[in-house]
């Protein structure tokens, strides 16, 4: 086996040193009848070429987004990732290192994460960020639990624009962790004001911007309502690129930002691994979940970085930790940071503007299709169409014609017939005008 370095001679010599006759003897603490004496009835090992063939065959049974006109978003967005990013994340020193517990030989990871924390604080308009969580959904659940700790309250209100996977994840955590969730119904018109539900028990209101239906909203007034009642406002950002053009949560007085960072530096990857974004205000930092990198100095006075405020974490505080998280999304955060480093201020704002322009261009084409209406008053790079028939059937029909048209709302809410004709459509810098024309023509044809 090509990954194993011991030879049979080595094994003999080593067993002799140990004083064992065979490897099985080292398993003598395992009940004899539970010790398998032969390989399981499963395939034997394969060379690299054979594995490549087998997996390439599986991959070929999928329709890759880049091979067709493609307009899906709804929480994971297809952007162009510069070649340099993948080179950086594949550097073995980053790829194959552990959580930086030994800072003297992990300054690369630590400095890169310190920079990531700074970038994230800047683009969200917040003070501080952590070194990543799993994904947008779990980051949102962690935000709810952090708000509960800070306010010593146990009621969480979810806005009607929150990604349904995030809402469902918060609800699952709530059931077992022991807090209450009041979820507003899906709100395609973006007219709902969750402030009416805030009471003295409310720990936080969680809203998303842009919302799952694409609308861009100002939650400044909601923040004021929250703060007046002693509650916090959590703003979720599921499309990180939007922060290059849209007013950030920090400018709306958000207390916590949770979100999904996949858009920068990471593939859509069938939904994972992704990157949980998490940022807050300075005075809340000690209640944050997850790893934090801080600046310090070494014994010679040179600047350096370490994992810090570990007394919040499971390996020190055990059942009193702020979260049970250990492994996070470090390499995804590195990809995010490298992509944003390449873009810089001008590249990031331009990328965001290109996304908005692409969505506007697509909206203009689709609005021209008879029977199709855009639900949104506002959007960034994603909006919702109301079709004259069930959206899921239209999506399947267009897929059969080689156009991946978007996400039907019924994929999230099959039990809400009032949403069955809604289609969530995203456009990014990767979409060409020809693809948009193709989509509009196919939709026109399909609805004829």
């Amino acid at each position: 086996m090509r990954y194993l370095s011991l030879t049979d001679d080595d094994r003999r010599v080593m067993l002799a040193t140990i004083g064992a006759a065979r490897i099985d003897d080292l398993y003598r603490d395992v009940p004899t009848d539970a010790l398998l004496d032969r390989p399981l009835d499963l395939p034997c090992g394969m060379g690299e070429l054979a594995v490549e063939r087998a997996l390439a065959t599986l991959a070929a049974r999928n329709v890759a987004a880049g091979s067709v006109p493609f307009f899906l978003g709804a929480g994971t967005y297809r952007h162009h990732v510069p070649a340099a990013v993948d080179y950086i994340v594949q550097r073995g020193e980053f790829l194959t290192s552990y959580t930086p517990y030994q800072p003297e030989i992990a300054q690369g990871t630590l400095q890169a994460l310190f920079e990531y924390q700074t970038q994230l604080a800047l683009i969200t308009g917040m003070d501080v960020a952590n070194a990543s969580l799993y994904d947008g959904a779990t980051a949102t659940a962690e935000a709810a639990m952090m708000a509960n700790r800070l306010t010593r309250r146990k009621k969480v209100i979810l806005g009607g624009g929150l990604h349904p996977h995030y809402a469902e994840t918060v609800a699952t955590y709530a059931h077992f962790n022991g807090f209450t969730v009041v979820a507003r119904p899906p709100d395609p018109a973006a007219s709902d004001d969750p402030a009416v539900l805030i009471d003295g028990e409310t720990s936080c209101v969680i809203v998303q911007n842009p919302g799952i239906f694409g609308q861009v909203r100002d939650f400044g007034a909601l923040a004021a309502s929250c703060h007046k009642a002693g509650a916090l406002m959590v703003v979720v950002v599921a499309e990180a690129v939007s922060l290059g053009l849209v007013k950030p949560p920090g400018a709306m007085a958000a207390d916590i930002v949770a979100g999904e960072g996949q858009s920068l530096g990471n593939a859509i990857g069938f939904g994972g691994p992704h990157l949980g974004l998490f940022a807050t205000r300075d005075h809340h930092m000690r209640q944050m979940p997850g790893r934090l990198v801080g600046e310090t100095h070494d014994a010679e006075g040179r600047r350096g970085y370490v994992l810090t405020l570990s007394a919040r974490e499971q390996h020190i505080r055990r059942e009193k930790a702020t979260s049970n998280i250990c492994t996070n999304s470090g390499l995804c955060a590195l990809g995010f940071a490298a992509h944003l480093a390449l873009l810089g201020e001008s590249g990031f704002t331009r990328l965001a503007a290109l996304n908005h322009a692409a969505a506007v261009a697509l909206a203009e084409r689709l609005e021209g299709v008879p029977g199709v209406r855009i639900v949104n008053d506002s959007f960034f790079n994603e909006f919702t169409l109301r079709l004259p028939r069930q959206a899921a059937a239209v999506v399947d029909a267009l897929a059969a014609k080689g156009v991946l048209a978007g996400v039907p709302a019924s994929r999230f809410w099959p039990d809400r017939p009032e949403l069955a004709d809604l289609l969530l459509v995203a456009a990014t810098e990767t979409n060409t005008e020809a693809e948009m024309d193709n989509f509009a023509a196919a939709l026109r044809e399909q609805l004829r």
Binding site: V51, A59, Q117, L342
Partner: protein
Amino acid sequence: MSDWSRAVSGFAAEADTGDGHRNRGLEIEELLLFEQDAPGRSGVDWPEPPAVADRLGGMRREGAIGLPGLSEPQVIRHYTRLSQKNYGIDTGIYPLGSCTMKHNPRLNEKMARLPGFADLHPLQPPATVKGALALIDTLAHWLKALTGMPAVAMSPAAGAHGELCGMMCIHAALEARGERRKRVLVPESAHGTNPATAATCGYAVDPIPAGDAGRVDLAALRAKLGPDVAAIMLTSPNTCGLFESEMRAIAAAVHGAGAFFYLDGANFNALMGRVRPGDLGIDAMHLNLHKTFSTPHGGGGPGSGPVVLAESLARFAPLPWLVHDGDGFRLIEHAEGEAAATIGRIKGFHGQIGMFVRALAFIMSHGADGLRQASGDAVLNANYVLASLQDVLTASYPGPAMHEVLFDDRFLHDTGVSTLDFAKAMIDEGFHPMTMYFPLIVHGALLVEPTENESKAGLDRFIAVMRSLAERAKAGEAEFFHTAPHLAPRRRLDETAAARKPVLRWRKPAQAAAE
């Protein structure tokens, strides 16, 4: 310092090369990205966006963000230089106990980047992702067969997330029986995530002391069991590197009390292809694909933590579910039909598919025979380290060890050298230190996990260095240890200062001074 290095440092003393870099040879000082900024510069050439009437609803961002501008070569150099300050598995042995830092095959990376996997959207029509669903099912089949369990939940994002998933399923099963139990038993030697997970899941944590042999004290466990105990969270092999030989008796006692048996599978690398935990009476266990199945740790993540489940827990598994349907698969994304009892969704989309591809490439490369050889070699390597060091270091327990071996700091008694000092001295010798001060049940723990990848020659060098360091400590060279590391990119870092006044981000010097 040698004459040569003195000469060099005299020659280049703190020379600022103009762009802020103070490098000597391959000793690199790298400024922050933000200190290399030139406004307007970018490493990506995006065209000027077309003029459109914006539809942002008046929500346009105002003012500058403050991101630095660098060119592509500057960014490449920045991260390449940073990478050279890191130790990785690719650099050398990385013997972090209970972390299973094994080789990360590049084939896995190549496969995960096939557009047919990497460039798939999780909400595409299922008919367009048949290969991805088949991949998940194939990996699921292997995981069930290797553990001897009937079901697996694939979506957990990492080990601790898998623990949470498993404990939620247990909680749900108890609720379905109309029971509201309050306590979870966790051995003192457990990973910190176990008690943290139990607490996140709403339980009070009740620690079980370890017996003298480093294993769970069965009598103490039995005494703790009662009608309000929901589960035990056990690790086997445990963090002392020992197989919990009384797992069946533990299972019987736990089940007899109406509770569930959660096994932390972080140390499954010892068992792969040799022991199926399902044969020992467990109810749930997570697998760390980023440990046992070689997906990279990436400086902290991402991981993947599928949870195998007993029949009694399977119907509570989180969404989504993948079920066989004729020749293909059906993706169940809502709590309905056969998934009506699900705990619900615990993360976005379907799980860490990129990690699944890597893990499956690893599994297919090994096959059933290779996985068995790999676990055997991992255990052999650990026992070889134990046998070769037990006369100079103090092993906490006699062997046989499983895939990792635990030493404590008795051998450093009266030397003035701590486990931390010893670890830092290992850095000077070119090694990443082992896990230190964990588990908590022995004093000054040194937990060594070599994995199956190390060669005998590599282990012999590691052993020789450990012996030599132990001898130097005993010979009174404490000062050398106290000041280690001497040869790393940084000397010892002041963690107390970092925590006392946390600086978690860069700020413009004027801005920082004002605060």
